[in-house]
Amino acid sequence: MASVGLSPTPPPGTLAVRPRREHIRSWPLVDRLCYALCWLTGIGLCLIAVGIVAIMFAKGVSYLTLSQFITSPSASIQQSQSGGFSDPIIGTLIVTAIGILIAAPLGIAIAAWLAEYRRPSWLARTVESAIEMLAGVPSVVLAIFGLVVLSQGYLGFLSEGANHGSLGESFFNAGIVMSLIALPLVVGSTRQGLNQLPDRLREASYALGKTRATTIRCVLLPATRPNIASGIVLGMGRIIGDTAIITIVLGATLRNEPVNSVPLLGLLRGTGSTLTSYVYYNSPAGEGNSHEKAYAAAFVLLMIVLILNSIVTRLTNGPRERGTAFRLLRFGTSRS
């Protein structure tokens, strides 16, 4: 058996004949039209994507200065006096972190239960429709709801305002409400990943005497990591882009306002703003008067989202995947 060996390369001339390609003229007219349409829409989408980046780049970069990253905004009609947007950048990072830190573990747990246990089945169906409902609720409604619930006095540890019987606006509360809009995306994506796994993986693990919980923890969830990551990115994208919850539950103040001098806790219990609310405030439609800074901030916001997506896409697919010209624009996609 060891002597079975053939030369690995075909002799010269073997592959000389090129297979004849199908010619588009042989297609029916409808197929040709549809084919053209596919090309057009595909290219059109790329143009839109390029257009967004190009316009924001052109508008943003010209107004962007390094000092804007490190100076806080201040209220002034003069563009030269109105400061930078260091506070909104920090605010965006904090809200996203809190939101996703709540939504990811919860969402993965819910998805694992829905995909693997589903017992009792009436509860599973109820949870499913609850998640669907949550996904459909406009974020401004969630914001109002969250403000009412989280302004209770006994939740004063989350926000200083609630302690004094006023509105519970804080980073904590905004993060909690934000987790609700990210949750359906994490659940949906994780669940889809788990459902795609073949049953023979589960059987293989059961046949080794492993419990259902061990199987989920050690085999199924690691196997569905790409889907989990894409769910998390989609969730983060929604959190970063949301303005309604920021305006209502975070206060959208010009600066982040820590309630006391306790290093992090004071900041998290106080009000603040994010890039989205900053852009809105300074945009031609808002109350502020620094349009140029709105463009600069919008450009920074776009860059944050794109970098985030590319990092997670890379983590998800591994470095071996072949790049695309516009891979940065793919919002939380993954193969499989």
Binding site: L6, A204, L208, G209, K210
Partner: protein
């Protein structure tokens, strides 16, 4: 020779290649019989102690209303290989899966009769404990999407470590993994890089990894559900040798469609047809002197 042709399995000696063994004379067919006529080629050292580990007693199994196994009684012994043969739909696989209660995860499955492991009804065990003692390898190689090492280490660990963290490689675990891979005849091929993803292995290597994984848990009975049906002849030969070598330390039950394979690896053969056990006996007896007409028809290729 045309270089684009796939390599032949048994190569006929070409001129100027004296080191290739000349082909053996084709085995004689006795009459119209398709019965396996090739003598066992692999060495089968006699096993000193043969004793009964499991006993299937008047077992009936059903999916929904449909009885797929009817009143089967069978012994499963340590020190020998038991082959379940029969046409598709004869209930072999269902019977095999019931031996470690994997039928239970199928909705609507029901059962009557007793299956004993060392004299205790298997339904008195916790399912997980039973499945650690009676392990199974499936038709399709199904390694977990992790490294080779982790695949084997996973079945070792009583309490698996937290997700995402790499399993701690104590010397003890490393030794056990190596031992399991050696027993499955895979160690030499993968020793260089145990951190390679298991899914990068070839089909035959994957199946041997699955066997190693099953062996790592130190089972007492090993169930094999057509382990070679997705593999090429060379991998099949490797795995068959492995099975014969294993029977000393574990009781082996193998389901197979391949009569030649049953003849090569099995000490005892059970022939099933439409859920009933038609004939059970030593491999020589069932293949050479079948008692039942239906067995005779099946192994001579009249149906199935």
């Amino acid at each position: 020779m045309d270089p684009l042709m796939p390599p032949p399995i048994r190569r006929i000696a070409l001129d100027r290649e004296p080191n290739v063994a000349p082909p053996r004379a084709a085995p004689q067919l006795n009459g119209a019989s398709e019965a396996p006529t090739q003598r066992r080629s692999m060495a089968r050292p006699p096993v000193s102690i043969v004793y009964e580990r499991m006993r299937v007693e008047n077992v009936w199994l059903a999916y929904g209303e449909n009885w797929v196994v009817r009143d089967v009684t069978l012994p499963v012994s340590q020190g020998e290989v038991l082959a379940l043969i029969g046409a598709s739909g004869s209930g072999k696989t269902t019977l095999l899966r019931s031996l470690n209660r994997l039928t239970e995860i199928t909705a609507g499955a029901s059962r009557a009769g007793r299956i004993l492991l060392d004299g205790t009804d298997i339904h008195e065990f916790e399912a997980n404990e039973l499945r650690r003692r009676v392990s199974m390898v499936f038709q399709q190689p199904n390694p977990f999407p992790m490294s080779i090492f982790d695949n084997v280490a996973y079945s070792l660990a009583e309490q698996a470590p937290p997700r995402g963290r790499r399993r701690r490689r104590t010397a003890e675990i490393e030794r056990a993994v190596e031992d399991a891979l050696r027993r499955a005849g895979l160690y030499e091929e993968v020793a260089g890089d145990l951190d390679r993803p298991a899914l990068k292995l070839s089909g035959g290597q994957q199946q041997r990894l699955c066997i190693a994984r099953a062996l790592a848990a130190k089972p007492e009975v090993l169930l094999l559900d057509e382990p070679c049906s997705a593999l090429d002849p060379i991998s099949t030969a490797t795995i068959e040798e492995l099975i014969v070598g294993l029977r000393e330390s574990v009781a082996v039950v193998i389901v197979t469609h391949n009569l030649q394979q049953a003849f090569r690896v099995a000490d005892h053969v059970a022939f099933m047809h439409l859920g009933e056990l038609i004939e059970y006996g030593s491999s020589e007896q069932v293949f050479d002197r079948p008692v039942q007409q239906r067995t005779k028809d099946y192994i001579s290729g009249a149906f199935g």
